[in-house]
Symmetry: C2
Subunit: 328 residues, 2 copies
């Protein structure tokens, strides 16, 4: 299947409906041999604008912002205005549908995106804006396909995962496994997600938000944040399989890129209170990539800063998109 939009029509009008599609191909994976992959994507925004690949966290997918065609809010909806200057291409991560249960490297996602670009007849994209897992994939894409990418915006990712964060995630995966072993994988996924949610935020936010004393009702004690964490976990478990959780979580820990291989204009953004991806790690990465920019984002929200600090993130995206090479 090729992209559903006629290029000649688009180039006359400069406008295009948002569209979705999927491509099926064989992917040579870094740790898991060759597998047939169906890659789902969405493309939206003015056809004459520079093409920007956008990638978010492991739970973010192809639907970045709303459009006339796909009206529900996207995962980066507050960035709709900033992203309006680009033609945004995004995918559902390989493994997000739970279709296969094997190790997935972030580099596999980059190779899959390159294969998708081939199918869409796109030789080169102007930019890759990634945050969290999306930034890891962007780093691999930049390292593997320097000739196909104009510039990289990498938010909240280091050259590899921090060992403490990897330890946290390994225990989240153990929660999934215990749920599976006990015949209730959804309970395991819900707990894993709740555990992950803790790592995306900060103690300072919890101090402000969940300062009430625990409640005691008979034998049941519940702390202030518990309803919130339960709800987050349940919601996530309703749309994510155990295999999807395990393999995308794991993929973050498999991330490891040599900064010397990233040779294009790059901007690295670190969130000040992010303890999952400490600013030191991002600063070291930015230092090791020749000529890179480093931006520090003040925030109470830790790793979720790229979602919660809407105005700061919009300014960073706007600046980045303004530097992109024009569409050809």
């Amino acid at each position: 299947m090729t992209v559903a939009i006629k290029r000649d029509v688009l180039e006359r009008t400069g406008e295009a409906p948002a569209s979705r599609g999927e491509e099926t191909f064989t992917l040579a994976m870094r740790h898991s041999g060759s597998r047939q992959v169906t890659l789902r994507y969405e493309i939206t925004g003015p056809v004459l604008a520079p093409i920007l690949i956008v990638g978010g966290g492991i739970s973010a997918g192809q639907h970045v912002i709303s459009s006339a065609e796909f009206a529900e809010a996207g995962w980066w909806e507050p960035q709709k205005a900033a992203l309006a200057a680009a033609r945004v291409l995004a995918i559902d991560w390989i493994g997000a549908d739970g279709a296969f249960d094997c190790p997935i490297d972030p580099a596999d996602q980059a190779v899959a995106i390159a294969t998708l670009l081939d199918r869409l007849g796109i030789a080169r994209v102007a930019g890759f804006a990634g945050a969290s897992y999306g930034a890891m994939v962007g780093l691999h894409f930049a390292a593997l396909y320097p000739e196909r990418l104009g510039a990289l915006l990498s938010v909240s990712a280091g050259a590899s995962a921090h060992p403490f964060s990897s330890a946290c995630r390994s225990l989240q995966r153990k929660a999934v496994a215990i749920g599976e072993q006990g015949g209730n994988p959804a309970a395991g996924v819900a707990l894993a997600r709740a555990l992950a949610m803790l790592t995306y935020r900060t103690a300072d936010e919890y101090r402000v938000r969940f300062d009430a004393a625990p409640t005691v009702d008979g034998d049941l004690v519940r702390v202030s944040a518990e309803d919130y964490l339960d709800a987050q976990g349940l919601r996530y478990a309703g749309r994510t399989t155990a295999a999807a959780y395990r393999r995308l979580s794991e993929s973050i820990d498999l991330h490891r890129v040599d900064p010397a291989t990233v040779r294009l204009p790059a901007t690295f953004v670190a969130v000040e209170s992010d303890w999952l991806v400490p600013i030191e790690d991002i600063h070291a990465l930015a230092d090791a990539v020749g000529g890179a920019r480093f931006v520090l984002m003040p925030s109470l929200y830790g790793h979720d800063g790229f979602l919660k600090e809407e105005a700061q993130m919009a300014a960073i995206l706007t600046d980045f998109i303004a530097t992109l090479e024009p569409a050809r």
Copy 2:
């Protein structure tokens, strides 16, 4: 049963064998009505030295340091020399044996200790040295029995648990529950303990200690800290029931003491890198207790500083014991 040592013999010699005992009594619990409790304790050290109650984390018990009678290493073994100047009394926390599955307040532990002192004929103790959960119990003991305590050393505890730390613990308890629901409580306890271990240490320590890349063996990915965390969890699950874990973990979250009720010489110690009990919380508590001392302990180890910073902890204990009123 009363303490197995004859006071007249002890007072003649000034020396006494370490001894263990247990007392069974009815305890009016703060949230759980009246329950029959069997409280196990150990007492060790020179009989003419000032009596010091010692309490550690929820997994620490009556056996603080080794002795001729009980030769295995105690949980505060590196503090044996510092503690030699005191007659050390310590208990197994109520609930640690899994004997009952109901909310346990740290104040319940303080009341139980006071009841034990009654049984032992001890009207007043010179000091209470508590760390982590033991410090919470010490704070309640000081607030409830000002006339029975000379001085308090409170290491790594605030006036109440931090909401973020409570959230972390609530998810540890959920891991226990999922294990129980799936018919494998030990797996739940092991995961909960591994999760707790993360909160006792720091990312900086993990960076130094677990910096290796993950291993990929077929479909199995393991991160560098995983063997360590698994071993810690399994070891703990071998000696702790689901009910014991749930209720002692929960007890930390039930901790809430009014600093104005602590009216005796008090020293508060905070570990610099402790993110489970942030120094700000301990500093605020010390400020709110009239005339208290505040000591900041530099450490890479976070909440476990009271166990890992052996020399600093020994100096603090030595100083504290030197200030205690003499035995009467």
